[in-house]
């Protein structure tokens, strides 16, 4: 038996993934255990949970693979700091201290804290881990692979050719030229939190017009060969870690939006921010299309795989699926750094001679909940717990207009809740969206919610979309005009929705089907089960904590319904 643990950590969204004899058996983010959103700490709890789930001990691990090269990272920090001296003077001591006080000895730490022999702990390269997570979990035997994020060791964008069990690096773009950093710097300019608010910029873009194209030609240059470069005068991510942009950016686009200010998209100020977001989104899509065309030209492959944080941009993915010229397209759905743990584990397993893992079918790779635990906690808290006979009962409550907090089975890996840790509601009327945004999740009122629809029923409601991406909610689709009145809580202002298709033979599918029988619309609003600033619920206890702190109508844990007195 071989067992390989992949680890990503130390920057944002730490995670562990376990591959046993070529099968991906578990993957979890540390935030689900520490309850700190995007927790970058060494994912020891997640790693131990993966091992426990597989009934293994740390000493059973054949290999532990860290997702990036700590020595190369240190080298980049040193060379970049020298290159940007003296501007880097203020950040340099902090950078080097951070490297030397922990990140450099990450492999030693993993060895001692997990209790694994040091010679079994190794590392791969950051973008290689991303690429492996995308290609080896895809169904393709041959594909071009793009990895696009803020920065790895020094690479920000890379093109690979995946064939069978091998990945070959073809081209790369180096820091500080980075689409991820461009998007993050503009996220900060829009007044959102970096590494968290990028989704909000994507949602906001639909409210704007791309009227800042001239300004953006100064920020980023797209070359005919698919490469790009940033106007470095406008960015400061190598010397300023506060916002990532320089005063010149504010001179070009206007002052940054103050974080936390209430939104009013009828005001000149916020319309301008929406227009900047829209222009940014358009430019990002064009940059990705350029990269994809280059990938096609270099590899001649029929399929494209994508990973890296930029792969979480569902709107851009939809455009890539339509316009990139590839016949097939797969996005590894935990495309950010958490998902690189998958790639690290797979690379380690392939090195050991394991078979290539099966194509990714489900992201339910976390720990399960049980209804027994739910009954016990409900009793201790003095809450009323009643048994449910099955999906029909859940559908009945939804059809009455209730908003349900639902936890069942294993929690999902990655940033999306796909039914196992979800808040569910009917996709209409619009008041559902208002209640969820303003009261339950307390987030910006312009942010959209996603519809979950039965696979077979999707064409009735949505324009054609990338079917391979929709089960993981990493693409968008146009909502058919005639369907919009019945989907108004899940249709964004531009007439699209981040659609999730669900198989009819799953429990979630049975709920959607039963809702359809009652309302005529087999679609359910699905949003992640978490409060503002919290990670998605993992355990039964987390589900109760959410339920008691928020105004969902009821909590469903497997086949138990819990209500507040």
């Amino acid at each position: 038996m071989s067992a390989t643990l992949g680890i990503s950590a130390n920057y944002h969204d730490a995670a562990a993934a376990l591959v046993v004899d070529g099968t991906l058996v578990a993957a979890m983010q540390e935030e689900r255990f520490s309850r700190i959103k995007n927790d970058p700490s060494l994912p020891l709890s997640a790693a131990r949970a993966c091992l426990a789930l597989a009934k293994l001990d740390a000493k059973d691990l054949t290999r532990v693979v860290f997702y990036e090269n700590p020595y190369r990272k240190l080298e980049r920090v040193l060379t970049m700091s020298l290159r940007t001296f003296p501007r880097s003077l203020t950040q340099f001591p902090r950078a080097i201290a951070s490297q030397l006080s922990g990140k450099l000895q990450v492999l030693d730490e993993l060895s001692s804290r997990l209790g694994v022999r040091r010679d079994r702990v190794t590392h791969r390269e950051h973008h290689e881990s991303h690429a492996a997570s995308a290609f080896f979990l895809s169904p393709f035997e041959r594909a071009a692979v793009l990895t696009v994020d803020a920065v790895g060791e020094e690479t920000t964008t890379a093109l690979w050719l995946g064939e069978g069990r091998s990945l070959k690096a073809l081209e790369r773009i180096a820091f500080p030229h980075s689409l991820g950093l461009l998007y993050s710097a503009l996220t900060a300019w829009c007044g959102f939190e970096v590494n968290e608010g990028e989704y909000k910029v994507m949602g906001l873009a639909a409210f704007g017009q791309p009227r800042f194209r001239d300004e953006f030609t100064k920020l980023v240059t797209l070359a005919p060969d698919g490469s790009f470069s940033l106007g470095l005068d406008f960015f400061d991510s190598h010397t300023n870690t506060e916002v990532g942009f320089s005063p010149k950016l504010e001179a070009l686009l206007g002052p940054r939006r103050s974080p936390g200010t209430p939104w009013d998209l009828t005001s000149d100020r916020d319309r301008r921010v929406a227009d900047v977001a829209c222009t940014l989104q358009t430019v990002l899509e064009e940059a990705l299309l350029g990269l994809a065309r280059r990938a096609k030209e270099r590899t001649g492959a029929n399929a494209l795989c994508l990973a890296g944080g930029v792969g979480l941009n569902a709107v851009a993915n939809a455009r890539l699926a339509r316009e990139s010229g590839f016949r097939d397209f797969f996005v590894q759905p935990a495309a950010g750094d958490a998902g690189a743990a998958l790639g690290a584990a797979i690379l380690g397993a392939l090195d050991l001679g394991d078979a290539r893992p099966a194509p990714l079918e489900s992201l339910a790779l976390g720990l399960p909940v049980t209804s027994d635990d739910a009954r016990t906690i409900a009793k201790n808290l003095g809450l009323v717990a009643t048994p449910l006979s099955g999906p029909d009962d859940v559908a009945e409550l939804l059809a009455k207009g209730e908003i349900l907090a639902c936890a069942e089975g294993r929690f999902e890996f990655g940033p999306r809740a796909l039914g196992n840790r979800s808040l569910l509601a009917l996709p209409t009327p619009i008041a559902v969206k208002e209640r969820l945004n303003r009261v339950i999740k307390r987030r910006e009122p312009f942010r959209p919610f996603a519809p979950a629809v039965l696979e077979a029923g999707a064409p009735r409601f949505f324009e054609p979309f990338a079917e391979r991406l929709a089960p993981f909610m990493v693409t968008v689709a146009g909502v058919k005009a005639e369907a919009r009145p019945s989907l108004e809580a899940v249709t964004h202002v531009d007439g699209t929705a981040r659609v999730q298709t669900v198989k009819a033979d799953s429990r979630f599918g049975a709920i959607i089907d039963a809702v359809g029988r009652r309302t005529g619309t087999p679609v359910v609003l699905n949003t992640s089960l978490n409060g503002k600033g919290d990670p998605i619920v993992a355990s039964v206890a987390d589900a109760f904590a959410f339920f008691l702190g928020h105004s969902a109508d009821a909590l469903v844990v497997d086949d138990v319904l819990i209500r507040k007195p």
């Binding site: 920057y11 020595y71 450099l104 000895q105 990532g244």
Partner: protein, 53 residues
Amino acid sequence: MLSVRTVKDLVGHFAKQNRLVLIPLLVVLLLAAVLLVLTQGLAYVTPFVYALF
């Protein structure tokens, strides 16, 4: 403390990349780093921290 294996790998990496010239710089800055850690000067972590560190 770094393990012997990590020190070996680190030196090996810098030697392979012809970056051994950076080692003295690393040692000098280590002192600054130790000072910062001791004085808890690293308590504040900024949003773009991953870009640099």
